[in-house]
Every structure is written in structure tokens, then in C-alpha cells.
């Protein structure tokens, strides 16, 4: 591997931006390195993104990407379990990892001079993870606790999970990132080993570095630590495109809860799947017209105006890998019911179809986007997130810089057009959380009063 230094390819040169210079490189083994300079403070964030997440999974092994993320802290051939975190900690670092449908990412935030430590450890666990059964047995329990914490004991999260699994039939978007409990209970170390070998390789990874660094020096470091790693034959996931939905779907989730809740979603394209590039940006503007702040329609008209809702929201992710949903949700106020709230939300959608949004609304959304682009620069972590998210789903990081321009180009007619084209009842899924009694006044069993004793 001696020749890597000389043969490293500068893929895309340097792109100067008002916000900071971004440099993109690719090593011979396929690893992509993107460096963004931010010299405001002597700190650096280093993120390693793998193109794998729950949308790459199939039934029976759901949650495997996320469990593997946990096991990535459990030792390599060269480092025992826990040492990764100890070394980062001793070096003043903060670290963590996260898994989504489309990616698994690991990050450290450090004082700048400690960057080599991050690279050395990340390169080590990219190819030399040592999956051990004893560690796995404990960690799978931790993940199940995480599932209970995040989903099973949160009525709205349960509702979302059920809703998403009903909205999609074939597309792997339906898989919950945390995994179904039964799949976690039956997960095997071999499932993880297989998943690791299949996806963890330099040619399936993007390293993003943002901070007080010199790009050429970072490249040199990357070559030193990641350069020697062997690439893998990566077989991209099959498309698993969702068949057309032929009519509205409704589900009810009954769970102990105090407050009712509704969630609805229309099938919509994302940037990676859209026929017309402007459409996802028009949907993004539409989401902001409904829920881009306290002056947006849902809060202004449903929470403060008619007071049908105590809260109401809309959401859309244009950067997902596969086509997804345009979401609406809310909680009814006072004596209003879920059907009242749903009717009010549908009325909002109908209005967007019937007429153009006002110039004032459009201008408010655009002002917010322009200002946010400045505010985001206050966080090196977030700057890295934006680059990594795009690259991990196969989009170009430059799209992040185009965002403001693209949003500014959206017209009121385009917003109306995407509303009419995509917000259709036949692609709609509607969920209702129907609260069951909580029985919180219930007495605990008598023998549990001893509390702190170990039995």
C-alpha cells in the first residue's frame, strides 16, 4: 500500500463558498473524504458515514444496522471492548453514533490536534471489528431497553411505527430503524458478522471533517490511516420500489395514553426519485407554508385561530434515499375530536390545491431559509451532518449549497401544482392514537415496597 500517497486522486478539486471552503477527495480504495474548513474555534468534528441503515434491511433481521452500530464500540482485533470510548474520552472528545433508514454514522468532536486519534480508531473498526458473543448478549439487551424507552413506552412513537408499516407494503422504508422487538430477540451474532462484512468497507464510507483544519493535512492523515484498508465488493440494495397505492388506508393504535393524536401521510417523491427537480423543493416550501414557524398556517389557523388543535405539524424529508411521505400530525384541543382535527387538516390541504399561497407567505419562507443558512454555520457538527447525509444517500454534497437558491426559485404556482399532483387521497395513510385508560392510580403489588434490595 506504499503507493497510496502518490496515487490518491483528487476528484473534484476545491469549491470556494462564502461559508467556508469544501474539499473533496477520494482515496484509491474508494473512501471519500470531504473536508470543510471552519476556523472560528480550535475544534474539529470527524464523522464516518456508512451507506447502510434500516432501509437496506429485510424482514427477520430488522434493526441489524443499529445493533451493529452499538457493537462497533465493543472491540476490534487490536482494541478490547470499551477502549475506543476510553481513548476518545481521555483525549477530551465527545463521541457518539446514530443510525437512520439510509445511513449509519459515527462521530467524534475534538480539539483539533487530536484528529489523528479519531482517524486511527475509526480506520481500525472499519475493517477489524471483533464481534464477540459475550459482548453481543449484553448489548442486545441494551438495544431492547432502548427500544422500550424510545418506542414501546411512547404512545405517539408506537403510532408512528405502526403507521409507517401500514403506509408501505414493499418498500423498505417501512422497517423501523430500531428493529421489531421479535427480530431483536432472535438476532444472532452471525447476522451482525454478515452485515459488517457486507457494508463496512472504505468504498462504502464517507469521512466528513469540519473544523479548524488544513485540508491537505487531513488528506495526508486519511491516506495514512484509511488508505491501507481493503475495499469490498459492494452490491447495492435492490430498489424495492413501492407499488402504487390504490386507496386510503386507516389504522387505529390503542395504547394507554392521556391525549389523542393523529398522524397522516401522502406518498411523495424525494430529490433522488423526483421526475422534476423542482418538485421536492416545492414540497419543502409547502411544508414550510403549513409549519415553518409560529406564523405558518397550522399554528396560526388551527392552534390560535379555530383552536381545533393544541399542536399541529407538517414534515417532509427531501433528502431521503427512497420515496417517502409528506406528513401531517396533531393533537385536538378542548372538546374537539380526532375527526374534527383531521377534517381541518384536509381542509388545509384542499386550500393549497385550490389556490396559490400568498406572496407574503412565500417571502416569509424564503427569508427563513436564507437566515437559517447563516445560523447553521454556528455548528460545525451540523455542517458535517448536511454533507454526510447527502453523500450517504448518493446525492452530491453541493446540493446543500444549492438549497437556498432552489427554494428561492419556487413559485406559488409550483406549490399549488405539487399539492394537486401528490397530496391525493388514494395515496393517503391515516393513523389515530386511541387512548386507553392509564390506570395510574393503581396500587403497586404489596411485595415490591422493599425497593433497593437485591433479590
Amino acid at each position: 500500500m506504499r503507493s497510496l500517497l502518490a496515487s490518491c486522486l483528487l476528484v473534484a478539486g476545491q469549491v470556494a463558498l462564502a461559508s467556508g471552503v469544501v474539499h473533496e477527495y477520494q482515496l484509491d480504495n474508494g473512501l471519500k473524504l470531504i473536508v470543510k474548513e471552519d476556523h472560528r474555534a480550535p475544534v474539529v468534528v470527524s464523522q464516518v458515514w456508512y451507506k447502510v441503515g434500516s432501509s437496506y434491511e429485510h424482514d427477520g433481521i430488522t434493526g441489524v444496522s443499529h445493533v451493529l452500530e452499538h457493537m462497533m464500540f465493543k472491540g476490534t482485533d487490536d482494541h478490547p471492548p470499551g477502549e475506543f470510548s476510553r481513548i476518545i474520552s481521555e483525549n477530551g472528545g465527545s463521541e457518539n453514533a446514530f443510525t437512520s433508514g439510509d445511513y449509519t454514522a459515527y462521530f467524534q468532536q475534538l480539539e483539533t490536534s487530536r484528529l489523528p486519534i479519531s482517524f486511527e480508531l475509526e480506520a481500525d473498526r472499519m475493517r477489524k471489528l471483533h464481534l464477540q458473543d459475550e459482548e453481543f448478549r449484553k448489548e442486545i439487551n441494551v438495544v431492547m431497553e432502548e427500544r422500550r424507552l424510545r418506542t414501546d413506552d411512547k404512545p405517539t412513537a408506537q403510532t408512528y411505527e405502526q403507521f409507517n408499516a401500514v403506509a408501505f407494503t414493499s418498500s423498505s422504508v417501512r422497517i423501523p430503524t430500531i428493529g421489531w422487538m421479535n427480530d431483536l430477540e432472535n438476532m444472532q451474532l452471525a447476522d451482525l458478522q454478515h452485515w459488517y462484512e457486507r457494508w463496512y468497507a472504505p468504498n462504502n464510507a464517507i469521512v466528513v471533517v469540519v473544523g479548524d483544519v488544513e485540508p491537505e493535512a487531513v488528506l495526508k492523515l486519511a491516506k495514512k490511516y484509511f488508505g491501507p484498508l481493503k475495499p469490498e465488493v459492494i452490491v447495492p440494495p435492490k430498489p424495492r420500489i413501492e407499488p402504487p397505492q390504490k386507496g386510503r388506508r386507516d389504522i387505529t393504535v390503542q395504547a394507554p395514553a392521556e391525549v389523542p393524536y393523529t398522524l397522516m401521510g401522502y406518498k411523495v417523491p424525494v430529490l433522488a426519485t423526483a421526475e422534476e427537480r423542482w418538485e421536492p423543493y416545492a414540497l419543502e416550501v409547502l411544508a414550510n407554508i403549513l409549519d415553518g414557524g409560529d406564523s405558518a398556517r397550522l399554528t396560526s389557523e388551527l392552534v390560535r385561530g379555530s383552536q381545533i388543535a393544541t399542536s399541529a405539524g407538517a414534515g417532509y424529508d427531501l433528502y431521503d434515499r427512497q420515496a417517502g411521505l409528506f406528513l401531517l400530525d396533531g393533537t385536538p384541543a378542548g372538546t374537539h375530536t380526532i375527526p374534527d382535527l383531521q377534517a381541518a387538516l384536509f381542509e388545509q390541504i384542499q386550500r393549497l390545491k385550490d389556490g396559490p399561497v400568498t406572496d407574503e407567505e412565500l417571502s416569509r419562507v424564503k427569508s427563513g431559509v436564507v437566515a437559517s443558512a447563516v445560523y447553521e454555520l454556528d455548528s460545525t457538527f451540523y455542517q458535517g451532518m448536511k454533507i454526510g447525509q447527502l453523500e450517504a444517500v448518493g446525492l452530491d454534497w453541493r446540493l446543500a449549497d444549492e438549497y437556498v437558491e432552489r427554494i428561492n426559485a419556487v413559485t406559488a404556482e409550483q406549490v399549488q401544482a405539487v399539492a394537486n399532483k401528490y397530496l391525493l387521497e388514494e395515496t393517503l395513510t391515516v393513523a389515530e392514537l386511541d387512548p386507553l385508560p392509564m390506570e395510574t392510580g393503581r396500587q403497586m403489588r404489596a411485595d415490591s415496597n422493599g425497593g433497593g434490595d437485591v433479590h
Partner: protein
């Protein structure tokens, strides 16, 4: 905003972080904090940050729930109503004007304090109208009856919503038991009964008493110079009556006996909190307890509690301990959640770990490692404008020395094992703690 439930972070909250004095050019990165008092008595803290064309402002009043005076939720509702109508502008008009400028305006409150925050682009065309709106909200809130009734209704729903969360139920149960008759005991957001009983006149009186210049700390970070910062503070708060600073919060009584409460909740996990009133801002033991706790349960993925409960036994996703210093002793809390049928085991491990640590303290190596983490990660603490804004506010509100940040690493490095053992034995008594256990049956 709609939040998607897709991302699942691996470990615990990204705790603290940091580095070696020798290596870090920490001084060059240290914000220069300037401080002055306006003519009407508001304390201003300012740090210039010319790198980005934006300004962050935080105006904090000693107007938290500790001032509720038996009407739980009064401070919180007062804070909520500020931007719901001011100077004759409706909530819609305020929101629409703020957002048309690309600015972000928010209000919030906690036990000690209530605050108003503004983030704006720094050019005059954006900043000046945003400041005018901020001044309206602070100086001329309307407290309209209709807005009050609507926000009361929303608050009632949010209180009921919070009952769905075993973690939240555990928190307020803990505060009730650990703080007894002290005003820290109550729920800052109020209860169904207390919110239903609130009167609009009470909010107006609360505002008049506590939203005054002498009771305010005004923090500014951004792309402006000292002169502009002085003008800015004057423009926003210069017209506010001087008033009186709120009296000091009463000291918190020490617990004398252990209390344990189990609360039924229809959840698959049981949430456990063990703790007691701990320490306050400016506490003489502050750095000793802070560093000591870092070893015990404050170091994120690397701590005694995490090692024993999560790494060695897989009992919990998130286990930690922390001191939450307030004007008077805020809580020291150890927390975990675990499957209902193994809660007694988990509590046992938690108690043993705590007991052992209080008796023996950290090993020399643990202490050195924690110091390396805290001091080595110092640059991360002040890397962004919003980080610095938070520090200015804490320094100002709690009357901490202006060199707090410069002195930080030195104070951490000076802590010894013996000091930690001594401080924990004086301040953390496992025999007189409150234990709250919220969850379902097996």
C-alpha cells in the same frame, strides 16, 4: 415542528468533553467577556463574535417557578404569554413579522429563571426591526384574555400529555419528595388544578414585579462592537422600569431520612431516580463535586455507573448521575430505566456503585482520566456562539466571576482524590436519599 422518529443514537447523551492545557491554544479561543450595567440597572454581558453575520441575545429574569408563590405554573404561563400579543400586535402579527425577517424569537422558563431569546442576522435591515419586536415583547406584553384562555387550554393538554411519560412522572415525583415545602418542589409547568385556577391578573402582577431591569441579565454574542452592543441593550431594555431584584431563593433543607415511592405506570420499563438536593452555583465544592461526579456517572459512555449497569450487565440504555446546580442546591440525581422485571437488580447495582464511590472515591487513574476529558474538551464548550451565549447567561445570572471560563481548567486540575472523598461524604449521603420508581409490573 414535526419530529420524525427515525434516528436512534447509540449511547447516552453526548456528555462533556475536552483536553490538555499544554496542547491547546485555549487562550486564543477564549471569548472576551465585557460587562456593564444599564442606567436602569440591567446587567449586560457581551462577547463579540465577528465571524458570522448574526447576533444572539438572551434576556433572563429571576422569574422562574421558584417565584410561583403557591400558584404552580404562574411563572411559566407569564413567560408563555409574552410573545402572544404585545404593543397592540397580535400573536400572529408578532410571529409573522419575526419570521419575515428570518429571525428566531422564543421564550422559556425553568425553576430559577425565565428568558427571552432572539437570533437575527446582524445587518441593520434585519436586526433593527427584530430588536423593535423584542423590545415590544419585553416592555409591552398585552396579556389578552383570549390568548390567556387558549394557552391555558394548551397547557392543560400538555400536562396531561406529560403524564404519558414515566420519565416525566419520575422527575416531578422526585422534586416533590426531595424538596418538601421548598418552592423547588413544585412542577414548573403547573398542575391541572393550579393552571385551572390561575387568573390573568396574577400574570400581570407577576410580570410587573419580576420583569424589571434590576432583575435582568442581558447577554449578547455576535457580529457587533461594544458601542453597538450598548445601544442594543439600551434600545431593548432601557425603557423597562428599574424595579427591584428578586430576593434570594431560600436555602434548601437537608434531607434527614430515606424516602422511597413506587408509582404505577403502564410502561414496559421502570424508571428509577435516586438522589437528593446537591449543590448550588458558586458552591465552594462545585468543582470537586463536578469532577467527582464525572467519574461516577457524568462522563457519558465512560463512567462507573455506565460500566456496571450498561457495559457489564446490559441492564439499561441510559444510566448516569449528575449535579444540576441552581441558585440554591439543585438535585444530585442518579437515573436509569430498565425492563420492569429486573428493576430491583438494577437498583441494587446502582446503590452499590454509589455507596462504594462515596466511601472510596475515584482511583487516581480514574481521576486523571476524567480531568483529561474535562480539560481536554474545553475548546468544545465554547466553540459556537450559542455555547458562549449560554455561558454569559450563567455567569451573569449566578454572579459567577468574569474569569470563570479562563479559570475553569485550572480549577478542574486542582481537584484531588482526597477532596472528592471528603466532599462526597459531606454532601452525598446514600442513607438519606429519595428513591422514585415509576413503571409497570412484571
Amino acid at each position: 415542528m414535526f419530529t420524525r422518529i427515525a434516528m436512534t443514537a447509540c449511547s447516552v447523551s453526548a456528555a462533556s468533553l475536552s483536553l490538555w492545557l499544554a496542547v491547546v491554544p485555549a487562550v486564543s479561543a477564549m471569548p472576551v467577556i465585557q460587562h456593564w450595567v444599564t442606567d436602569n440597572g440591567a446587567r449586560v454581558y457581551f462577547a463579540a463574535a465577528p465571524e458570522l453575520p448574526m447576533v444572539d441575545i438572551n434576556i433572563t429574569f429571576a422569574a422562574g417557578s421558584v417565584r410561583d408563590d403557591g400558584h404552580a405554573g404562574l411563572a411559566d404561563m407569564t413567560s408563555t404569554l409574552l410573545d402572544m400579543g404585545a404593543a397592540g400586535l397580535s400573536a400572529d402579527e408578532i410571529a409573522s413579522r419575526v419570521e419575515s425577517l428570518g429571525a428566531e424569537l422564543s421564550t422559556g422558563s425553568a425553576r430559577d429563571m425565565a428568558w427571552i431569546k432572539l437570533r437575527s442576522l446582524s445587518d441593520a435591515g434585519h436586526l433593527q426591526p427584530a430588536l423593535k419586536l423584542l423590545a415590544d415583547v419585553i416592555n409591552r406584553p398585552d396579556f389578552n384574555k383570549a390568548d390567556f384562555e387558549r394557552e391555558r387550554e394548551r397547557t392543560l393538554v400538555s400536562i396531561r400529555h406529560s403524564e404519558q411519560s414515566p420519565a416525566t412522572v419520575a422527575q416531578y415525583t422526585f422534586f416533590r419528595l426531595a424538596y418538601g415545602d421548598h418552592p423547588y418542589a413544585t412542577r414548573p409547568g403547573g398542575t391541572l388544578e393550579s393552571i385551572s385556577a390561575l387568573q390573568l391578573d396574577q400574570l400581570k402582577a407577576f410580570y410587573k414585579r419580576y420583569y424589571v431591569a434590576r432583575n435582568a441579565v442581558f447577554s449578547i454574542v455576535g457580529d457587533l462592537d461594544r458601542k453597538a452592543a450598548e445601544q442594543l441593550a439600551e434600545q431593548v431594555i432601557g425603557q423597562l422600569p428599574a424595579g427591584k431584584r428578586a430576593p434570594a431563593v431560600a436555602p434548601v433543607p437537608v434531607l434527614t431520612a430515606a424516602v422511597e415511592q413506587r408509582v404505577y405506570h403502564p410502561s414496559t420499563q421502570t424508571h428509577v431516580l435516586v438522589g437528593a438536593p446537591g449543590m448550588h452555583r458558586g458552591d465552594p465544592d462545585y468543582f470537586t463535586l463536578y469532577v467527582g461526579n464525572h467519574v461516577l456517572g457524568g462522563g457519558g459512555l465512560v463512567s462507573r455507573l455506565n460500566e456496571e449497569v450498561r457495559e457489564n450487565r446490559g441492564l439499561s440504555y441510559s444510566v448516569s448521575s449528575y449535579f444540576s446546580p441552581m441558585e440554591q442546591d439543585g438535585p444530585f440525581l442518579v437515573s436509569l430505566q430498565t425492563r420492569n422485571d429486573q428493576v430491583d437488580d438494577a437498583i441494587g447495582i446502582m446503590r452499590e456503585t454509589l455507596q462504594d464511590y462515596v466511601e472510596k472515591g475515584p482511583t487516581e487513574k480514574e481521576l486523571v482520566d476524567s480531568k483529561k476529558n474535562i480539560t481536554g474538551g474545553f475548546p468544545l464548550r465554547i466553540a459556537s456562539n450559542s455555547d458562549i451565549l449560554d455561558y454569559l447567561n450563567v455567569i451573569g445570572f449566578y454572579d459567577l466571576p468574569l474569569d470563570y471560563l479562563e479559570a475553569f481548567n485550572g480549577k478542574v486540575m486542582a481537584v484531588t482524590r482526597a477532596q472528592i472523598i471528603d466532599a462526597f461524604q459531606r454532601r452525598v449521603d446514600p442513607e438519606t436519599m429519595v428513591t422514585v420508581i415509576v413503571g409497570g409490573e412484571d
